[in-house]
């Protein structure tokens, strides 16, 4: 069996506003568009991946929040309705998701062998979180690739950003090893925003772009700094600065997804591609791709 490969790492934020603005048939509410810079960014990302052969999307979302270790979806298919508990006016999405249970179990087992607390989720009534659905839909609206969905274990809340990162670095290594041993080609996805201070009010027309902007200049500066570090391939520095970033920008990377993804990519020195940046209800969002399939010692 050929060795598996991570063909790309993605930073793919999940505000449900993006799906709402796309008006896909699965989503009940209708919009007049909005957040085009980000949606066009996702369009560029999809174009970049258009001719890339891969078997599976492996995604970690901070909206499947688990406090007792890291969990993995463990059944082949989930079909249901996802309603965003915070923006139900925007996101009521009928999903039909296929899971690569074999790979999911392989990553679970590897992480367990490496000493992490893990659990398979095998309850058919379980509802997949809207973060996973939004990111996956924006990356691959055809929904023709199975996914591996990994929970966010909130190590930041229980311990510290530093401890969370230790866990996520370990989980990233386990993910990488399991993928390489599986023989499968995977896209790995960190589903999170950057700065994460929301507005606490919403326009009458949610897609009214005349009121959309970053919540503060400080948040903008942090977002630009992080994007520049990604664009210049300074993964380790991102990890090093993560505690300050989380504290000062209330960054959604506190959920561990970004650190996990960088670890799974083996802390690359190669630059990431910026496909788009924009704000959503005040939060900062970047769509980034690490095209590891093109690197000399590729993943």
């Amino acid at each position: 069996m050929a060795e598996g490969q991570i063909v790309a790492g993605l930073l793919a934020p999940h505000p449900p506003h993006l799906v709402y603005a796309e008006n896909p048939p699965q989503n009940e509410p209708n919009s007049e568009g909005g957040w085009e810079q980000l949606r066009w960014g996702y369009e560029r990302l999809r174009k970049s991946l258009e001719d890339v052969d891969y078997d599976c999307i492996v995604i970690l979302s901070p909206h499947w929040q688990t406090y007792v270790g890291t969990h993995f979806l463990g059944l082949e298919r989930f079909e249901s309705l996802s309603v965003d508990p915070i923006f139900p006016n925007l996101f009521r999405f009928k999903y039909d998701v296929t899971v690569d249970v074999e790979l999911s179990k392989a990553i679970h087992d590897q992480a367990k062998d490496d000493g992490l607390a893990v659990k398979m989720m095998e309850n058919q009534d379980f509802r997949i979180d809207y973060g996973t659905i939004t990111s996956c839909h924006m990356i691959r609206p055809e929904w023709d690739k199975p996914i591996v969905s990994i929970s966010s274990n909130r190590g930041h809340a229980y311990y510290s950003v530093e401890v969370m990162q230790e866990m996520m670095i370990q989980l990233g290594k386990a993910t990488r090893k399991a993928i390489l041993e599986s023989g499968k080609k995977c896209v790995i996805v960190a589903s999170n925003s950057l700065s994460h201070r929301h507005f606490t009010t919403e326009s009458e027309v949610p897609e009214d772009m005349s009121v959309e902007h970053i919540s503060s200049h400080a948040m903008h500066l942090w977002d630009m700094r992080m994007i520049e570090l990604m664009r210049s391939g300074k993964s380790q520095q991102i990890v090093n600065e993560m505690p300050e970033f989380v504290e000062q920008a209330i960054a959604e990377s506190d959920g561990g997804a970004l650190t996990w993804m960088l670890s799974a990519l083996d802390m690359p020195d190669e630059p990431a591609i910026l496909h788009g940046y924009g704000t959503i209800i005040g939060t900062g969002n970047a769509i980034m791709e690490w095209p590891s399939r093109n690197w000399r010692e590729n993943s």
């Binding site: 499947w64 929040q65 688990t66 406090y67 007792v68 270790g69 969990h71 309705l81 309603v83 508990p85 915070i86 923006f87 139900p88 006016n89 009521r92 607390a117 659990k119 989720m121 095998e122 309850n123 009534d125 379980f126 509802r127 979180d129 929970s151 274990n153 909130r154 190590g155 809340a157 229980y158 201070r197 929301h198 507005f199 606490t200 009010t201 919403e202 919540s215 503060s216 400080a218 209800i281």
Partner: protein, 471 residues
């Protein structure tokens, strides 16, 4: 008289008492405590459960469940292996609508949610299933806003009381929360369960000692300390106590009973029932304000940016005040510790037969002399912006406190004379609040424009009330 819940409950959020009470003795005891709480509710004349859940975070203001019959099969994000929880509830949509409107009236961002398949949080589902298994009572569920501070959460409860008052509901208030919320971060066997640390246990017992003594407001004012000491910084803080205490008029003399306290996966799970009957001991160890209206975000991250939000000015204004006097005490005087002190030698009210005459009542707050909605001028005498609606609400609240002292309520008011310092500017706002409050009881009214009042306030009312039988 302002409504209070007929009972107030603190209950835990995790699904173990519902799905696996037989697997651990402590989980079984919490289940029994839940059953006891259910029986206590059944013995009241309550007609609705009002729930504030920390497990339903919101960002855009406060969300209120308004679907008439929410229905789904819930699976816990962590404890999915315990099983599924099918549910179908009955929502008091009329109260949900009234609470939503009351939120807006008090300056809160608010929205109703009424969508098929909306994910009701596990805490609310567990509480409803165990406290109200046959859906005898309708429920109303409110989210916990992640950015809301104490003032906002306090006002959220007051708007809930406004709605309960308006509709004449008899509510049971339910706060869904753990005490210490630190769980074990790895799977454990049921028999291994215990409170995560001795420190958590010690704090939990201290909280329960307060609650058992009915000292709810003291717990509420310790909320930030408790959160720092024994709470994992998840999404929301130890806010439910702010809400629950405000629902109970910030009282410290409730009658409390701890029905159960046990660990659930390391977290402190307790079932507590608080009854409005006075325990007779109401002294308060702490003295944070009871906020009447929410003035919105202060744009702290955007200094200098224009804001169309009304700012509540809470500057000390003692320098603008005449000297405060102790209320005159005679055998017909009615004086209230809860009302602001007079600015001269007179009582808060005087009872003659079955008629109660109140001295002019303004919006000043007792103890601090702060003016909700802000003073009309600064310390240099320069006119500043103020909120007439907040001032008017505070006047009515002070009137109610004095009436309550005499055993009367707003319903007993028969005639009011109102003094406004700026009729053109303030009549509309004052009139709106009047309609929501005193106006609902139908007293006669006269409104007069005057040049000034003794303190830097914009509105004062002179009230006559009649109650009881003729002597």
């Amino acid at each position: 008289m302002t409504a209070q819940p007929v009972k107030s409950l603190v209950v835990p959020a995790h699904p173990h008492p519902l799905l696996a009470p037989e697997k651990n003795e402590g989980w079984g005891k919490i289940r029994e405590a839940y059953d006891n709480a259910r029986e206590i509710i059944e013995q009241t004349d309550a007609d609705v459960l009002v729930i504030y859940s920390t497990l339903w975070p919101s960002i855009i203001g406060h969300q209120i469940q308004a679907h008439p019959n929410p229905e789904w099969v819930l699976v816990d994000a962590d404890f999915h292996d315990l099983g599924s929880i099918p549910y179908q509830f009955r929502v008091d949509t009329e109260l949900a609508e009234a609470w939503h409107k009351a939120n807006q009236n008090r300056g809160l961002e608010s929205r109703k949610v009424a969508y098929d398949g909306f994910p009701i949080d596990v805490g609310s589902v567990v509480a409803c299933k165990l406290l109200n298994p046959d859906n005898r009572l309708p429920v109303v569920i409110c989210s916990s806003n992640v950015y809301a501070n104490r003032a906002e959460t306090t006002v959220l409860a007051k708007s809930c009381l406004d709605a309960i008052n308006q509709l004449g509901r008899k509510a049971v208030a339910v706060s869904i929360m753990s005490l210490s919320n630190r769980m074990f971060t790895a799977p454990i066997q049921p028999h291994e369960d215990r409170i995560h640390s001795a420190k958590d246990d010690e704090w939990n017992l201290k909280i329960l000692e307060f609650l058992g003594a009915g000292r709810l407001e003291d717990v509420a004012q310790l909320s930030r300390t408790i959160h720092h000491q024994i709470r994992v910084q998840k999404v929301v803080a130890f806010k439910p106590m702010w809400w629950l205490s405000s629902m109970n008029q910030h009282r410290n003399d409730l009658t409390g009973e701890v029905l159960g306290y046990e660990p659930i996966h390391g977290a402190g799970a307790a079932v507590v029932v608080l009854d409005p009957t006075s325990s007779g001991q109401g002294d308060k160890e702490y003295d944070e304000d009871s906020v009447e209206t929410f003035a919105g975000d202060r744009d702290v991250l955007d200094e200098g940016k224009d804001s169309n939000l009304v700012e509540i000015k809470e500057q000390p204004i003692h320098s603008q005040h005449p000297e405060l006097w102790e209320p005159t005490d005679t055998n017909t005087s009615v004086n209230s510790q809860e009302a602001p002190k007079p600015v001269g030698a007179y009582p808060h009210a005087r009872r003659e037969g079955n008629v109660l005459y109140l001295s002019g009542v303004g919006p000043r707050q007792p103890g601090t002399s702060q003016i909700p909605g802000g003073a009309i001028k600064d310390e240099n005498g320069k006119a500043v912006d103020y909120d007439i609606k907040a001032q008017t609400r505070a006047v009515v609240s002070n009137i109610e406190k004095i009436l309550n002292e005499a055993g009367a309520s707003l319903e007993n008011v028969v005639d009011v004379t109102t003094f406004l310092i700026d009729m053109d500017r303030d009549f509309k706002g004052y009139n709106e609040v009047w309609a929501e409050t005193l106006g609902a009881y139908g007293p006669t009214r006269t409104t007069i424009a005057i040049k000034a009042l003794p303190t830097p306030i914009a509105v004062e009312m002179k009230v006559v009330a009649r109650f009881g039988d003729d002597e």
